[in-house]
Amino acid sequence: MSWLTEPWSHAFMQHAFLAIMLVGLICGVIGVFVILRGLAFLGDALAHAIFPGVVVAFILGGNFLIGAVIAAVIVSFGIGAISQGSRLTNDTAIGVIFAGGFALGVALLSTQQSYARDLNSFLFGSILSVRREDLLLTGAVGGIVLLVVFWFRREFTSLSFDRSFAQSSGVNLWVFDQLFLVALAMAIVISLQTVGNVLVLAMLVTPAATARMLTDRLRTMVALSATIGMASGVAGLYVSYYQGAPSGAAVVLVATAVFVVVFLLAPESGVITSRVRRRLHHGHPERDQFEDDALPV
């Protein structure tokens, strides 16, 4: 079993494991609301569009988190302004701002001497360079994100399920949409160092999508999504350590493999499982009698 403990003997790997577990947990939780609200594209766009904010903070030597949150707020206002004030749909506005913001980030970063190395670490993360201070910051910001999601869980649930009723019961849609975007931007920013700009979407979407196929309960879905996110992260790091694969890619590939397995074999909704069940049912229709009876008229 020494292969299990061996990676933990290096301080940089301990940091990496802790960082990826934090990212798996935080992205797993907020990712549930991302996929339930159909905001996967927005999540990807946000990851790219906050890039200039991160770069400006990097150039000025300031806190990259603050730069990212400022950029996220500008981006979300921009998307809202374009889609409300014109004939363009929301996803078109997201597309325009997403590409424009990312290009601005690349242009700003190209003014720096260490351009190629920096760009690479922004895009794909550099999990092995996570320091203790980074972990503390990730933990603190992630804690805030989790607290916001927990504290406003009923508002987020209500407006994700039925926006009109949520609004009529006093949930300010604009405020909670902005709050969600800022929380999402914070989750993305703390994931940049571990999985990078390009692959952060997978941490937001894949574990949550996998969890959705396994349950019809929101609480269970959040718990499963966080667990799958953390477990994929840890397993991916082992793969990366022993196979020398880039860590971000390894983590995402593990998460995707889990998704595929569940997609095929989930107890209720799996493609293969439901086919087998139909075949069994074909021979013995009386077995499903209760289900038919219990379901609606």
Binding site: L36, Q167, G170, R217, A294
Partner: protein, 267 residues
């Protein structure tokens, strides 16, 4: 379950005065002045785009008036009110959402339950009682998307019963639901009415409105007519609201109550 509300015949529960709403430059409602008393069931009729949903949303405090005023027991409505419960159209909800029927109903209490704790046994009991009122108790644990359209509408009503306002606004509650559900709603309306709840609902079904409402209001951006159904449902007013040629067929023997078929002429 239901909030007792003493009907006072003098003061109306809801009043609008010269109410107008604009979406951008486009007027959605103009010069609407109405009064709705406690314990009154009001059917809101008009063609698509007439402003029925907009009027309900103004009363619910979701859409601001651009001119005029809208008040609830004399207090101007500037946002959502605890005493006013809104039941939106079914089509707006995300039915694939991973939530059980019981948890969906509990959202009716979401704003009044302290956020640091989970829903208590008592609150869950209230939600189950609301489900019992709409004959949906045995589906409490079912995922909401597995329900039929009529059952989903019942769950919406249960959620509204739990929120327990003295004014209930329903946007097309009878659209696309089966006859037993319609009958259940009509009998629930009677119960709520007896307890002093004012009910305002939008509908396209003139016959349903005639049977269910104390008052009907025909709107087409402006208020065309309002009053008891038998007074309002005449060819001239229907024509003014819906446009086109109208054929009113009186099916009743005593000619007091008429079932009306309205048909738009081919233009």
């Amino acid at each position: 379950m239901f909030q007792e509300f003493s009907p006072s015949s003098a003061a109306p529960a809801l009043t609008t005065h010269q109410l107008a709403v604009h979406y951008g430059n486009r007027p959605a409602l103009e010069d609407i002045s109405i009064k709705i008393r406690a314990g009154e069931v009001v059917g809101l009729l008009g063609p698509n785009g007439a402003g029925k949903s907009t009027l309900l949303k103004v009363i619910a405090g979701m859409v601001p008036a651009s001119h005029g005023s809208c008040s609830f027991h004399g207090h101007e409505i500037r946002g959502p009110q605890a005493g006013i419960t809104y039941v939106p159209q079914r089509a707006g909800a995300v039915w694939t959402f991973p939530i059980s029927v019981l948890d969906a109903v509990l959202l009716g209490l979401a704003r009044s339950t302290p956020r640091f704790r989970a829903f208590s046994g008592n609150e869950r009991g209230q939600a189950l009682a609301a489900l019992r009122h709409v004959e949906m108790e045995r589906y409490a644990d079912v995922q909401i998307g597995a329900l039929s359209g009529g059952q989903q509408q019942r769950v919406f009503l249960a959620r509204a019963l739990l929120a327990c306002g003295s004014v209930l606004l329903l946007d097309e509650p009878f659209t696309g639901v089966d006859v037993p559900t319609q009958q259940l709603f009509v009998s629930l309306f009677d119960d709520l009415k007896a307890r002093g709840t004012a009910i305002v609902y939008a509908t396209h079904d003139l016959d349903q409105a005639r049977q269910t409402s104390d008052m009907v209001m025909l709107i087409n951006r402006r208020l065309i007519a309002s009053g008891p159904p038998n007074e309002v449902f005449r060819s001239a007013t229907i024509q003014a609201a819906f446009g086109g040629a109208v054929l009113v067929i009186d099916h009743s023997e005593d000619r007091e109550a008429a079932a009306i078929g309205a048909r738009e002429a081919v233009r």
